[in-house]
Amino acid sequence: MLIKLLNGGEEVTIQSMFRSFINKLCFNNLSCGFHTSASLNEVQLLTRLRVVDNSEIGKRAMAEGKPPKVICVYNKKRIGYIGDRVMVAIKGQKKKGILVGLKQTQKVKVPKFDSNNIVLIDDNGTPLGTRIHVPIPTILRTILKERTHAKGADYTKLLAIATKFV
């Protein structure tokens, strides 16, 4: 079998083969290979997000099937909640974005979405795109107004390009 594989030109090391062999032998490992507790769906380091604005880079990244990855969440807990600022790695670049919809279970009257949505912004809080094509939770109005300070970035520009609030 080993010779056959090597002849086929596959780069299968003996070690990884041995591991897969052990996995097949060990029946317990089969049933314990997955999580049995409900997932929290938290936005944390290396979570894949969905860009929902029409910025050029975001559109291309989503079309190529390479959605952005979180590389930093700008809060103390390092777990992103609604309205939090994140840094993402998108098409080999670092961009900042704001979480505008989460998969996680939300509080009462706050919508829960089927995907983790993000709108890309620059350092001043100006969105890179001109339109958001999914609904935005209304609670973002209050959250983003609170986050905006007189001399810092103005995040409320994001609300102006939203098309629909739920």
Binding site: V52, G101, Q106, V108, K109, V110, P111, K112, F113, D114, S115, N117, H133, V134, P135, T138, I139, L140, R141, T142, T163, K164, F165, V166
Partner: protein
């Protein structure tokens, strides 16, 4: 869109109608013979009101949140009484209609964050849970190709109105599988017209079976014995089927103690319904009067 699918699959599962009443029996420990008798009566005489002479039989489905949590650690008669009184007080302010999992609702809440300070959402009820003032329900809709779910407290004083758009039941108690289904099954437009059922008809059961998207799924739907999913076998591998067989618990339907612990005994239910029965009926009657008295205005034809 959703309507078209419903019609196409209607013939496939016409048989499902007769399965459903049997399903709801497991909700309560009331003797089954009672219900059979009631059904016989219903056959003889038409009309829905006569069918439910025992208020417990009618109300335990219509107002499930009036029954307390069956956990004996949390039971207290006085607290339950106060809770029911508060629920009735809230119900006298706003009409909380009869609805089930699978009904389509429109909820208007006063929202301090929204622009007009009100927020309207339309969606299908995929879950009802909680007892007493903690009762919650979840609405799901697909807006602009994005699935959205919102959870509401049933007795929240910021809810301005709950409107029934389509009153119906589905084949399952919880419709979480809509998250993994094709989006057209949970797409409802926000300007749907409410469908009014004629007086006295039983709540229809919608026998639509949804089609799931291919794996990965959020849960292992194949293990949950769902009736409202059509194409679950297509996506399964041999291993999934084997494990489903291993995980089956066919003995649980014979576990009478387990059922007893999950339900409120019939004697307790009679007491509870006897207490709230009159007030609920009065509320219903006064609502009906208001409904008839309301000013009749012809809706303007919309050109757009």
């Amino acid at each position: 869109m959703a309507l078209a699918i419903r019609k196409s699959t209607f013939s496939v599962l016409a048989t499902a109608r007769c399965i459903v009443p049997r399903e709801f029996r497991s909700l309560s420990s009331l003797p089954e013979t009672n219900e059979d008798v009631a059904q016989d009566v219903a056959k003889r005489s038409t009309g829905r009101r006569i069918r439910f002479q025992n208020p417990a039989l009618e109300y335990r489905h219509v107002y499930p949140e009036f029954l307390p949590d069956p956990n004996p650690k949390w039971r207290n008669t006085l607290r339950e009484k106060m809770e029911r009184a508060d629920m009735l007080k809230r119900r006298s302010q706003i009409d909380i209609p009869e609805f089930y999992v699978g009904s389509i609702l429109a909820v208007v809440i006063s929202d301090p964050h929204a622009q007009g300070k009100t927020n309207r959402f339309v969606g299908i009820c995929i879950e009802r849970k909680g007892c007493g003032l903690r009762a919650e329900f979840t609405l799901r809709n697909v807006v602009d190709h994005q699935g959205v779910e919102i959870r509401y407290d049933l007795y929240d004083p910021t809810i301005q109105s709950i409107q029934i758009i389509r009153l119906e039941k589905r084949l399952d108690d919880k419709l979480f599988y809509l998250r993994d289904a094709l989006p057209e099954y949970s797409t409802f437009s926000f300007d749907m017209d409410p469908e009014i059922l004629p007086e006295g008809t039983p709540v229809p059961v919608n026998p639509v079976q949804v089609k799931l998207k291919p794996k990965p799924w959020l849960e292992r739907w194949e293990r949950q014995e769902l009736k409202g999913v059509a194409n679950i076998e297509e996506h399964l591998k041999e291993n999934d089927r084997v494990r489903r067989e291993l995980r089956k618990t066919p003995w649980e339907k014979y576990d009478l103690m387990k059922q007893y612990r999950k339900t409120i005994p019939a004697e307790d239910q009679n007491e509870i319904w006897g207490e709230v029965h009159n007030q609920l009926n009065q509320l219903k009657l006064s609502r009906k009067k208001m409904f008839k008295k309301r000013p009749v205005t012809t809706p303007k034809t919309q050109l757009a």
